[in-house]
């Protein structure tokens, strides 16, 4: 197999990948950025280089922050390959990807994984019906195509992205039928103990409060402490039902946008068999990394939300940190300079991370929306329910990999992305053991589906 040899392959062109690649290229390294999208920005700055000014205005100043990052990448010597679907990364730094129907392989000296976050699965009755999407999906439609729901939409769940989307929809004149918030009063009380630390990240907090205020001012029906969310419908969504304080509510709508936080996309770090740990605050698995972002797979680094949720600013800083370490490793930067620059970046990083414990505590997704009742589909691809999983546990299944064997759970096209966390938590709950003891799917290539012909030809 003839692989082109390069210095560094960066997977993903969100804030971490863009900042990391730009910095790496500044040291004269031969850098290739492989990105699945058709323009740089990742999901948070999706379409930033293409969005018309009116749309940028609408989306707000945080979105516009992505433009300098994207312009810097484009201006740098890094080779940006759009529309590249990376399907395999190996421990010896070979990266295989598919682009315009062609199979290609790069051999790198170091790899920076900047694959970002994905939205946490929201397994409730009816979540597979057409018309039910994630809030992130709604936002991507707005960012990349200027589209918004044509009928009054229901936003449901919790977390900053949900409120941000609500604010953006308001600015766009989109009618919001209701904001169904799963946050409870006790969540505020639980989060308060992190408030002092959060105050030091005041810009974040202020922005959040402003969002909430503008939503309130717009007099959108706002339900708080919503429980037992479910979507009604046979061929498509018809209504969202839920309970507030024991009272049953039903809101008719064809469009429900769900959100309960984001979690690291760990497909690559898992497939590399890097060590992952369970984060009880963020309720997700993250890869174990050193202070520069290097995994326990030498020469493979993670930056951004793929290594634990921190947001866009944190991601860009982590991308630069990883770049410093890689540059030193490849002998184009001295250790003293690396350490000096690294210390400055870490100071900034810590400031930006102070808000996280507060947010994680306040917007902790509800147990019943992570560990659903028996009739709810957990694995959307293979249509495996929570009840099926519990019957596998009764048969002696101890973890997600046996669940796969017993019932094909996680073996469909999404390769467990949309069910992994739920499966782990359902099994842990059924076995009454800590989630960390249950573990996660073993992820195998191809990380993105390829055809037999493509594989044969490569």
């Amino acid at each position: 197999m003839n692989a082109e040899v390069v210095d560094v392959v960066v997977v993903g062109a969100g804030p971490a990948g863009m900042a990391g690649a730009t910095k790496l290229a500044s040291y004269g390294l031969n850098v290739v950025v492989l990105d699945e999208q058709s323009s740089p920005g990742g999901q948070i700055y999706r379409g930033i280089t293409l969005a018309p000014l009116s749309r940028r205005d609408l989306l707000g100043p945080d979105y516009a922050q992505g433009n300098p990052l994207a312009q810097a990448l484009v201006a740098s010597s890094a080779r940006y390959e759009k529309g590249a679907a990376v399907w395999q990364v190996t421990r010896d730094h070979r990266v295989s990807y598919l682009r315009e129907g062609r199979m290609q392989t790069l051999q790198a000296k170091a790899i920076l994984l900047a694959t970002g976050a994905m939205e946490r699965p929201f397994p409730i009755p009816g979540w597979t019906l057409p018309g039910v999407m994630t809030a992130g999906a709604g936002q991507i439609l707005l960012k990349s195509a200027g589209l918004a729901p044509s009928e009054p939409v229901v936003l449901a769940g919790c977390g900053p992205l949900l409120y941000l989307l609500g604010w953006q929809y308001l600015r766009a004149g989109v009618e919001i039928k209701a904001l169904v918030d799963t946050t409870h009063h006790e969540d505020y009380w639980r989060a308060r103990r992190h408030l002092v630390a959060a105050l030091r990240a005041w810009p974040y907090l202020r922005k959040g409060l402003q969002l909430m205020r503008s939503l309130k001012k717009a007099c959108i029906p706002h339900y708080t402490g919503a429980e037992a969310l479910a979507v009604e419908g046979t061929d498509a969504a018809q209504a969202l039902t839920f309970q507030v304080g024991g009272k049953h509510e039903r809101i008719e709508t064809r469009c429900v946008l769900l959100h309960q936080g984001v979690v690291p996309n760990i497909q690559f770090s898992q497939s590399l068999r890097a060590t992952h740990t369970w984060d009880e605050m963020q309720l997700c698995f993250s890869p174990l990394k050193d202070s520069w972002g290097e995994l326990d797979v030498p020469g493979v680094f993670v930056a951004g939300d793929g290594g634990g949720i921190g947001g866009a600013q944190v991601a860009a800083l982590q991308g630069k940190l990883a770049a410093l370490s890689i540059a030193a490793r490849l002998n184009v930067l001295g250790a003293p300079q690396r350490d000096k620059q690294g210390a400055d970046l870490r100071g900034e990083l810590n400031d930006n991370l102070r808000i996280r414990p507060f947010l994680d505590a306040l917007y902790r997704p509800r147990d019943e929306h992570r560990v659903p009742s028996d009739d709810v589909l957990v694995c959307r691809c293979e249509e495996v329910t929570a009840g099926d999983l519990r019957s596998f546990v009764a048969l002696g299944c101890t973890g997600p990999n046996q669940a796969k064997s017993f019932g094909r759970c996680g073996m469909g096209p999404c390769q467990g992305r949309l069910c992994g966390l739920t499966v782990t938590e359902v099994i842990a709950d059924a076995r009454q053991v800590p989630v960390a003891d249950v573990g996660y799917y073993r992820i195998r290539p191809p990380i993105k589906p390829i055809t037999l012909g493509e594989l044969a030809g490569g």
């Binding site: 018309g131 991507i140 707005l142 589209l147 766009a172 061929d235």
Partner: protein, 117 residues
């Protein structure tokens, strides 16, 4: 087939400067250039993109960012394309995927070979 679109351009969007034609299940549709196939289908009123191979349940895009694989469609004879990751182009022929694919009774292979370099 298309019903009332679930998504539409927000009012502040200027009219698209470029549009193009494509077909969905044989019906010709005009959509703005530069957007994803999934976005285009949603704005012209396609609510059901496929039926699952397991129970033939209806599905449509869920994540719009390439992780859920719910938006799979057949594009120009190539099945299982993630429509949220493919940009529209002139003359594109899109078909919904109904249940498990039939390798035999679908003139897929030759077309697939033609469009791939």
């Amino acid at each position: 087939m298309p019903t009332e679109p679930l998504f539409q351009p927000v009012t502040s969007e200027s009219r698209p400067t470029r549009t193009l034609n494509l077909t969905f299940n044989g019906k010709t549709l005009t959509v703005p250039a530069g957007i994803s196939v999934a976005a285009a289908l949603l704005m012209v009123g396609v609510t059901r993109f496929r039926a699952t191979p397991v129970s033939e349940a209806p599905r449509a895009p869920y994540c719009m960012m390439g992780v859920c694989f719910e938006c799979l469609v057949d594009i120009d004879g190539v099945p299982n394309r993630q429509s949220c990751l493919v940009e529209v182009s002139e003359g594109m022929k899109i078909r919904s995927q109904e249940g498990a694919r039939d390798l035999i009774f679908q003139p897929v292979t030759n077309q697939a070979l033609e469009v791939q370099p």
